[in-house]
């Protein structure tokens, strides 16, 4: 057995999986916590990021979908991964700006349900547009060669430490996430910019009456949230399939991350994402465990575990682990 090695692998896998959730949840959480806007189309930004990354980095062949019918056999710029990592956040940032301007802004004053419905509609539209254009098939973003490969871990010879290896890319994902999270945290917590947005949440008109142009911080904040989702799409893509449906399927764990961590709290998002990632990976790795003569195989529960986690958190701390109690106006 190789307990220590297993734990390290588990930690890294869990953190990496969590990192994707964190990137998504931060955007969701600041948009929800500061702009009071419920974005069911956040997953769409993730998909857009993933496809944009794919098309910048590689050349793909499209075989069903309208593009193929229209005679495009292959599309993509084939520039490699690094340009994708640089351009995608910029691109999705711009998409985020447009989304704020044309979808979110007219809905700030409308009830939550309307916001959810319209963004849900948007999510459908993005998914189905991609489906119609490039088809439903799954693509794979190739891990950049610099980050390909594994770090073999070998312990001191007296511990039976068979080789475990860590995917280098996973470490990269963790590092990139950490850097971005810190930057956004600083902006939201320590600048007037963050303060203005928070104030505008409750009373945008009053903010304007104080002489502050509110639309700009709003739109930028939205853009930042979107860009993070785009980054998640690119860095997550090499470890997952890219198809039009991934946006919706990632939305649920991303929302759970927000709920577990607490709305509006960046630290909460980090904690929530990490927990979810860990639980998911740990349950897979736990395999069958016998206790008191009953053997439970935990692997099938891997997908269920995160929901149980959410329920437990919610029942014990309804505002989320690091969330603050709501203050009525």
């Amino acid at each position: 057995m190789n307990i220590l090695g297993d734990i390290i692998v588990l930690l890294v896998n869990g953190l990496q999986q969590g990192a994707i959730y964190v990137l998504l949840a931060i955007g969701l959480s600041i948009i929800l916590g500061t702009l009071r806007f419920v974005n069911f189309a956040h997953g769409a930004l993730y998909v857009i990021g993933a496809y944009a990354g794919l098309l910048i980095a590689q050349e793909i062949s499209v075989s069903n979908g309208k593009l193929a019918d229209w005679g495009y056999q292959t599309i993509g710029l084939d520039l490699g991964f690094l340009p994708a990592l640089v351009f995608v956040p910029v691109f999705v940032f711009v998409v985020g700006l447009a989304m704020e301007r044309y979808v979110a802004r007219p809905f700030y004053d409308r009830p939550d349900t309307d916001q959810i419905l319209v963004t849900f509609g948007l999510a459908i539209v993005v998914q189905e547009a991609l489906h119609a254009l490039v088809g439903g098939r799954s693509y794979k973003l190739v891990i950049p060669p610099e980050a390909l490969g594994v770090i073999p871990l070998s312990g001191p010879t007296d511990i039976p430490f068979t080789a475990v290896s860590l995917g280098l890319w996973r470490l990269w994902v963790i590092v990139i996430t950490a850097v971005l999270v810190l930057a956004v945290y600083a902006i939201v917590e320590y600048t007037d910019f963050g303060l203005v947005v928070k104030a505008g949440t409750r009373d945008p008109e009053m903010v304007r009456l104080l002489g502050i142009k509110i639309t700009r911080p709003y739109i930028v904040m939205f853009g930042i949230g979107a860009a993070l989702a785009g980054v998640a799409g690119v860095v997550g893509a090499p470890l997952s399939n890219i198809n039009p449906e991934i946006g919706m399927s990632i939305l649920v764990p991303a929302f759970l991350t927000v709920v577990i961590g607490g709305v509006g709290s960046i630290r909460g998002a980090v904690l929530g994402g990490t927990l979810i990632g860990m639980v998911q990976v740990a349950l897979i790795s736990l395999g069958s465990v016998s206790l008191l003569g009953i053997t439970v195989n935990w692997t099938p529960w891997a997908q269920v575990g995160i929901y149980v986690l959410a329920v437990v958190v919610l029942l014990t701390r309804p505002q989320g682990l690091l969330g603050e109690e709501e203050v009525a106006a």
Partner: protein, 396 residues
């Protein structure tokens, strides 16, 4: 016809000098009555196959543009689901994104019940609905601790949780990815094979007993739904939708009422889910428990018209037609889902009462009847603002 629930108003004649009510107004008063609603629903159910299948066939419309009988049955089933969902969304104002779990667990419960215990369709419905109600009680109890957006997110999450539980840990019972294939639907009341034709009634009107069965269920659903809206619950639920805090402070146990509304809605979904199993003799997991089903019912209800039972039924019909018939048309068929998404957004933005509400509005407008409710009016105005802002109007 609009079925905004109104307190029956006293006869206008009390005020002297008033004109006697117009024909339209009299009709408007009559149609609110429950028996009228029931009769209209029965007529609709009876005429649907004739109008949608027989007549188009007879006049030679191409078959890839027209309905087919099993689709109409399926639509009735979805309509029951939509009515229940509308009670929650349209009247209580709670947006659930996890209703697939009630539809789905009921479908499984009915299917497994038929295989393990008893194949009577009525017993299957009872089994499925019971499971859905119990589940709704548990999930509602947890999810309703948080309001607004949390409710949507939590129901979505629970829906997915149930999906994954049925998919993997319970796959020995549920068949997992394969779906549950062992459904054994028995005869109705021990004698009637649901697949067989109804004696004496021409196929042009009623295709088979399954249609009668589903149609009866729909009529009952409409009547019960109507009754609920006319019971104290109806007005209490709308009060909660409009001002929850105030409702609490007139002594209403808001939480319990919301929970009840959730459970009632779950029960309708349960009936519909069980019928789905009965119709298909198979329980496919993705079409019962996956979140897409929850999304579909949201789209159906909002598109048709939340806050109006007939709107919900209309939405079910519209969605089924687009998803099953339009999807096969050359050219636009490939884009059906995309088009539906776009239409959905337009409806959310501009038509607070859905397409059905829009139709009623236009009709009442043209008859110079009183204006739509204020909030609806306000929302419609918001919609127009949105459009102005899209075309680069005032930078708000």
């Amino acid at each position: 016809m609009s079925d905004e629930v109104q307190t029956p108003t006293e006869p206008e004649s009390a005020e002297p000098g008033e004109q006697s009510p117009s024909l339209y107004e009299r009709w408007a008063a009559v149609r609110e009555q429950e028996s009228t609603v029931a009769v209209l629903t029965i007529l609709g159910v009876l005429l649907a196959p004739f109008v949608l299948v027989t007549v188009p066939d007879a006049i030679g419309l191409p078959s890839d543009l027209t309905w087919y009988n099993s689709l109409i049955t399926l639509t009735l089933i979805w309509a029951i689901f939509a009515i229940g969902y509308d009670l929650l969304l349209g009247y209580t104002g709670l947006l659930s994104f996890g209703h697939a779990m009630f539809w789905g667990t009921a479908a499984y419960a009915a299917g497994i019940f038929s295989a393990e215990v008893f194949g009577s369709p009525i017993a299957m419905i009872l089994a499925g609905t019971t499971v859905a109600v119990v589940l709704a009680w548990v999930i509602g109890w947890i999810s309703l601790r948080r309001g607004g957006i949390y409710f949507a997110i939590l129901t979505l999450a629970f829906g997915q949780m149930i999906y994954y539980i049925f998919l993997s840990p319970l796959s020995t019972v549920t068949g997992g990815e394969n779906g549950f294939t062992g459904v054994e639907v028995g005869n109705l009341l021990g004698v009637i094979d649901l697949g067989s034709q109804v004696p004496f009634v021409p196929v042009a009107f009623v295709s088979n007993w399954m249609y009668v069965f589903a149609g009866t269920a729909l009529v009952l659903a409409v009547v019960v739904g109507y009754r609920i809206l006319n019971s104290p619950y109806g007005v209490v639920l709308r009060a909660i939708r409009e001002n929850e805090q105030r409702a609490e402070f007139v002594g209403l146990n808001v939480w319990r009422y919301k929970l009840m509304s959730f459970i009632i809605s779950g029960a309708f979904a349960g009936v519909a889910g069980s019928l789905y199993t009965i119709q298909r003799s198979y329980v496919p997991i993705e079409n019962t428990l996956q979140w897409t089903v929850s999304g579909d019912i949201v789209v159906i209800t909002v598109l048709g018209g939340a806050g109006s039972l007939f709107g919900a039924i209309f939405g079910a019909g519209l969605y089924m037609y687009v998803a099953n018939i339009v999807s096969g048309m050359a050219g636009i068929g490939d884009f059906w889902h995309l088009i539906l998404g776009v239409v959905f957004i337009v409806v959310v933005v501009t038509m607070p009462n859905g397409i059905w509400g829009g139709i009623s509005w236009v009709r009442e407008k043209s008859l110079l009847l009183p204006e739509a409710p204020t909030i609806a009016r306000q929302k419609a105005a918001n919609g127009r603002d949105w459009i102005t802002s899209l075309v680069g109007g005032e930078d708000r």
